[in-house]
């Protein structure tokens, strides 16, 4: 099948799939950022059990393969009486993975600041709260722009896990497998369309992230 035939037959599916992929990416990334902040606060807190929980969380979810986590959530959890809709399984998986990497990015940002500036903040009389809100957090956020851009792209690619469960409507990868198994002779066109959607978005996000980073980067 050529491009025109695919679009004619599956154009609507593609519009839906693009929307699925992009909206899942946006929702998952937003949730992941919130959880990442929460986990990071736990990891930098002076309370040891919270630190430990945060560290274990990050190590588990940055090391588990996405598919393995999805399968645990989608197929193992129902046996524990935790049943989620298919799409929610994918979203929970993506959020757990992305939040672990997000927390790592924040930690890297905090590490880049250095003890000296914190001592300087203390010595001009800033309280702990002010030191965090005026010195540590702004710098950690600025240096997180580039890694978080890459994480956003990675989050989009991870939503392709949606192809491993019967989601409806499908996202961009699931749709390809749907079309290819349904129409014999669909060829490589369905792949090209999805791939261009992914890679094109990734390049655009990269350019935007790079632009923001250049403007806010902390010179050292």
């Amino acid at each position: 099948m050529d491009f025109a035939q695919i679009i004619e037959q599956y154009g609507e599916n593609y519009v839906k799939a693009i929307f699925e992929t992009m909206s899942m990416t946006a929702i998952c990334f937003a949730l992941a950022m919130i959880i990442a902040v929460f986990i990071t606060v736990m990891r930098v807190s002076p309370i040891k059990p919270l630190r430990l929980v945060g560290d274990v969380y990050v190590q588990v979810f940055r090391n588990i393969p996405g598919v393995a986590l999805l399968i645990v959530i989608a197929y193992a959890l129902p046996n524990l009486k935790v049943v989620l809709p298919w799409k929610a399984c994918v979203e929970v998986t993506v959020v757990l993975l992305a939040s672990a990497f997000g927390s790592e990015n924040f930690m890297t940002g905090i590490n880049a600041i250095g003890v000296g500036q914190i001592e300087a903040a203390r010595s001009i009389g800033l309280t702990f709260g002010k030191t965090m809100s005026k010195i540590v957090i702004p710098q950690a956020l600025r240096s997180a722009v580039l890694p978080m851009t890459n994480l956003l792209i990675a989050t989009m690619l991870t939503t392709a896990l949606g192809s491993q469960v019967p989601m409806s409507p499908q996202e961009l990868t699931g749709l390809v497998s749907y079309i290819t198994t349904r129409s014999t002779g669909a060829g490589i066109v369905p792949f090209i369309i999805s791939a261009v959607c992914y890679a094109g978005t990734a390049v655009i996000l990269g350019v935007v992230g790079n632009y923001i980073d250049k403007r806010v980067r902390v010179l050292r």
């Binding site: 309370i47 600041i113 914190i118 792209i153 491993q164 390809v176 060829g187 792949f191 350019v207």
Partner: protein, 281 residues
């Protein structure tokens, strides 16, 4: 966790006074209780749903179970190792093209790199599994999983290599050119060997991504760890215990690789360059 991380997060706090010590102690006790309650609830949920029953765990005492899982693990290693080697080679080639100074070649390589970095590995796997056979190319399962994983990794590796080359001091190139080496010789004899050494920790950490990507080998029915786990759980009807054990194996393997990469980075003083730290454009 690197020692650096630990020291910096401690540096956020000053040595506590008596009041802070008391608050920290209270916080520690309260959080410890909460964590224990959380764990107890999870275990309770396992218990009331019968997932702690002996039938779900007894087969782990049988060596055959482990042998079967180990066979799968060997499959994972084979795919990961081959994909790693291929992606290394392809990554170097793409990087050389991207920095060749030949405009057309640079653009082509850049498009290829951006493409492989910008599409999900699952899509590439479906390409080898679903699209290629339509053109009469039906690869063995091993290659249907290995090639897409290698291609997906090569894009990121090309950028890692480029960062490595950029990290070699400019003086090295100037010195090499000034003693009369050609630009090509300068690259292969002087710059590339040093760049490779710089990126060793990054390459090791990139291996984690490769191992993760191999997990979808079941799509093409290649017997890796995950695929064998799926066989195992149907034989024993033990979804929870098998998937949990397999997930833990993956986590431990990747954790070990990551720790090795951190160790190498600390020993050599070279940073870990990854898809999240490199420049996206």
């Amino acid at each position: 966790m690197s020692a650096h991380t630990t020291s910096m997060r401690d540096a956020l706090y000053e040595a506590p006074g008596p009041r802070t010590k008391l608050l920290t102690l209270i916080g520690t006790i309260v959080s410890l209780v909460l964590v224990c309650i959380g764990l107890a609830l999870v275990i309770q949920q396992f218990r009331i749903t019968g997932q702690l029953d002996a039938k779900y765990w007894a087969f782990y005492t049988n060596m055959n179970t482990w042998r079967f899982l180990f066979d799968g693990f060997l499959g994972t290693i084979k795919v990961a190792a081959m994909a790693a080697v291929l992606s290394l080679a392809l990554g170097v080639v793409l990087m050389l093209g991207r920095t060749s100074g030949i405009k057309v070649l640079e653009i082509v390589c850049r498009v290829i790199i951006d493409f492989f970095r910008g599409v999900p590995s699952l899509l590439l796997i479906y390409f080898f599994y679903l699209a290629m056979p339509q053109y009469g190319v039906r690869l063995p399962p091993f290659w249907m999983i290995t090639l897409p994983v290698a291609l997906a990794a090569s894009g990121v590796l090309a950028e890692v290599f480029r960062a490595g080359v950029n990290a070699v001091p400019k003086g090295q190139t100037e010195a090499a050119l000034s003693i009369g080496l050609t630009p090509g010789k300068t690259m292969f004899k002087i710059v590339l060997p040093q760049a490779l050494r710089i990126v060793v920790p990054s390459l090791i950490s990139q291996l984690v991504v490769v191992v993760k990507d191999t997990t979808v080998a079941y799509v093409v029915s290649y017997p890796d760890l995950m695929q064998n786990a799926r066989v195992l759980l149907t034989t024993h009807d033990a979804v929870v215990s098998v998937y949990l054990v397999v997930a833990i194996i993956y986590i431990l393997v990747n954790f070990a690789i990551n720790q090795l990469s951190i160790y190498m980075a600390r020993r050599s003083g070279n940073p870990i360059i990854s898809r999240t730290t490199e420049n996206p454009t």
